[in-house]
Each structure stands twice: as C-alpha cells, then as structure tokens.
Amino acid sequence: MTFGLQLFQFILSGLTTGSTYALIAIGFSLIHNATGIVNFAQGEFVMLGGMFMITFHSLLKLPMLPSFFLTVLSVAAIGLLLEFGPIRRAKSKEILILVMITIGASISIKGLSMILFGKNPMTLPPFSGETPLILFGAAIMPQSIWIFGITVSIVLALNYFLKKTTTGKAMRAVAASRRSAMLTGIPVDRMILLSFTFSGALGAVAGMIITPITTTSYDVGAILGLKGFSAAILGGYGSMPGAVIGGLLLGVFESLGAGLISSEYKDAVAFLILLTILFLKPSGIMGKGRLRRV
C-alpha cells in the first residue's frame, strides 16, 4: 500500500470515529447552551446506547430497527429523568452543584450498568455485513457508511429543528439569554428538559453506531465522554458546527496518531489536543472568543 493510500485509509477511519465524537460533542453543547453546565454523564449515555442495543437486539432478539428506536427512547428517557429528577430538584442552582450532580449520575449509571450488564466487554454485529467496500483503493467497512450516514442525517435534522421550528428557535433563545427568554414567556425549564432528552438520544445513537467497531463495556463512558468533550472544546464549546468540526478533526488526528506513531497513543491524542486548545485558544475553532457566561 502506498503511503498516500494509507493516509487516506487513516483519514477515512478517523472520520468514522470522529462522527461519533461529533454526536457526543453536540450532546455536550446542547446541555451547555441550555444550562451553562458540563454534563459529565454524557459519556454514560453513549455507553447505555451500546448496552441497550445489545440487550434489545442480541439478547431479546428484537429486529434491528425496533431495537434502535427503543434504545433511543430509553436513553432519551434517562436523560429526561436526570433533568427532571436531581437537576431540577437541586436546592442550589449553582453551576458547580449541578455539575457535581451529573458526576454523581455518571458514577451511579456506571455502577448500575456493571451490575446489570456485567464486566465483560460486549459487541454488536455491524448493521449490514462486514464485506468492505473499496473506494479509490481504500477499504471502507459498511458500518462506517452507516455511521457517516446516520451522523449526517442527525446533524441535518437537528440543524433544521434549531433553525426552522419555533421550539428550536426558543432553545437557541435560551442559549442566547436565559433571562430574556423568561421575559419572553419561553418556558425555560421545558427547554432544559428537552436539551437533556436530546442529549440522551444523541448519546444513544453514538453508542449504537460505534459499538460494532470498538466493542463496549460498562466502563467506556468516561473515555468516550472525554473524547466528545475534547471535540466540543476543539470546535468551540457550545457551537453546533464547532461540535461537528471538532469531532471529525479529533477523529482524524487520533487515527493519524495511532496509524503513524503508535496505537498506544490513540487516547493521548485527545488529551493533548484538549490541553493545546485550552492553552492556545480556549474558545475553540468556531468560538467567539468568550466562554459563555454562567
């Protein structure tokens, strides 16, 4: 294989995992924009996505499509409950307290998952076979196409929602100014609930599409969350286009790092990028030069 082709191959596989990071990053951004907090349970949503899909599809033998939607609904419901329960009922609305609550939720979800799903790594069959397609001499797994396709559809749908529907505009309004949104009559609580629900759904999808490639276990949430978080920071925390760009870039950097240097450093790439961005341009690629008020 020529070096050029190899590079192309790395980039393709980077874009694949990067798509997943993008979805996770969008989840972080949605919640951040609505509430100003970092949701540390975002990675657990992703883990749950894989686990629920395995439960519905591999264990309960439900067909692929119903399993997919059941998983989205289940994890979305968990996102909703996280907001409707502990976050909403918190006595103090201090950002730090709310973030602590998400950390607590993350630990609880992980612990419960260990009990429910066991400690062994598990995987899912790819959505449609394992015969690679050849594109310009590079091999692409069908699963990668699924990952791309699903990510692109979700990004487009979310963009339509945020830009064209009244509820979507109201969500952006809450992100722009919570006070002003309240004075306009926008039910801010409901928008926050929606952002948690969406983030759960996005996490679920990310988990389901990546599991056939990477396998999963009860403890993958932290590292996946960190990747999505780094992607969000890289792109500009809170920015939707930023989340997509950050996710794809991080995926590609990681893949190049693993391919050209050593796969042992794969996870370190995310940390390295995170630190570099925080040192050099904390507002990220699409950032407006300020980290939003809290």
Partner: protein
C-alpha cells in the same frame, strides 16, 4: 390593574425592597424613578417573576401572581423590556419577533400580519429583518425589544430604562413611541433615570429610595417638589450629612 402590597425582596440577606406598595391602573403611564441601586430593576423582576418576593401580595387583573413562573406572568399580559439582554443577539430580527409571540403561537399568516404592524411602527427594523439582532445599534435594539414585547400583546408593558445609553434624538423618539403605545391602550410602567422626561410623559410617578417608596404623585406635583431632587441625589446628600 396591578396592585403591589408590602413587597419585600432580598439578595441573600440584604433587603433591597422594603414594603413596596404601589398600583397601576389600566391606561396609565406610571413611572418609577430613583437613584442607582435603589431597587427599580429588582422591583420589575419581582413583578415579572424573575426575582422572588417575600411577604405581601402582587395582584394583576385580580390574579395573585406570587409564586407564578415567569412564562405564566407573561401569559397574563405583563411584558418587561429589561435594561440588559433585551433581545436574542445571535437570532435574526425576524426570529426575535417570532419568539415574541411564542406563547400565543399564531399561525403563519397571523404572525406575518403582526410583524407587519411592528415594521410599520419601526420601519428601520424591516431593512434588517434577516440580520442577527446583535448587529443592531443601541436605538435599533431598543426598538426591536419593544417590537418583540408588542408581539406578546402586552396589557402592561414594563420598560427598564429604555433611554439608557441612547443619543438624545433617539431618546425623544423612544419616549414618543412609548406615548403612542399608551394611546393605543397599553398600560405602561416606566423605570427611568431620565427623571425629567419620565415625569413629563407619565400620569403618575413613584420615587424609590433604597428600596422604599418615598414619594408618589402626578408628574407635575413631583416636578415642583424639592423632595424629588433630594430623593434623586439621595446618595450625595447623605454622603455630605454623614461626613
């Protein structure tokens, strides 16, 4: 229309409103004046449900509004144009106006008609309808904020220092608009530092000093009242006395 009785409000342990009692009748322009930090903004936020009040009652059109969420209070017809963060900066003018009608969710045709009315009132906004609100000048932003509030079909419109930071010509335009809105039947509660203008256009005025209503009366009465000056320059005077 609006009756506040014995309202207390706090920031932590600091009391910023003390037994505030006031009323606004339908069709009036009532202004609220007072020095920096006297509690004007807090009072509006209490009425809007953004800031909790302790004790007392807040009745609007015979409905007790204490403990209501802000969106419920907006639904009753109380709209506030705040001093800061008046509009949604990243959203376009059209989006801002559309959200102004959020609670009523008019259909497309109705929405377009209502926006048209706002554009007739503020023609400058039409030219910029697809721009993000953040690109507007201060005066234009104030107009958009008013337009957005009008989209909510207010019964009581509360304006927090609408003239703040605007050029004199724009200020008189804004006051002119406030008056014309009142002529159309919208009741107005106006918070101003620009006391002269406020007294001139309002039917009645309350003077707030460190969280207390210290004076009230018609604009004319207050313009001729020495106490008004004292209440305004309260801080300076006190400063001298204490020295």
């Amino acid at each position: 229309m609006l009756k506040l009785k014995n309202i207390d409000a706090f920031f932590g342990k600091t009391q910023v409103l003390r037994h505030v009692t006031l009323h606004v009748e339908a069709g009036e322009i009532v202004s609220l004046i007072g020095a920096n930090g006297s509690g004007k903004t807090t009072l509006l936020n209490v009425i809007s449900g953004l800031h909790p009040s302790r004790n007392g009652s807040r009745v609007f059109l015979n409905v007790e509004t204490r403990g209501m969420k802000p969106e419920k209070i907006v639904a009753l017809g109380i709209l506030q144009v705040p001093e800061a963060e008046k509009v949604f900066n990243p959203l376009t003018l059209l989006e801002n106006l559309e959200l102004g009608a959020y609670l009523r969710r008019p259909d497309r045709v109705k929405l377009a008609e209502e926006m048209e009315k706002v554009f007739q009132l503020f023609p400058i906004l039409r030219e910029r309808k697809d721009q993000p609100a953040g690109t507007l000048s201060g005066g234009e932003r104030q107009m958009l904020a008013l337009g957005k509030a009008l989209m909510g079909q207010p019964k009581l419109l509360m304006l927090d220092e609408p003239s703040l930071g605007l050029a004199p010509t724009v200020v008189s335009e804004i006051f002119h608009i406030v008056r014309s809105l009142n002529d159309r039947g919208i009741t107005i509660l106006l918070v101003e530092q620009n006391a002269k203008e406020a007294l001139r256009i309002s039917h009645r005025t309350y003077v707030l000093d460190t969280g207390r209503i210290v004076l009230s009366g018609s604009g004319q009465e207050l313009l001729n009242n020495d106490e008004v000056k004292r209440a305004f320059l309260g801080k300076d005077y006190r400063g001298k006395w204490e020295r």
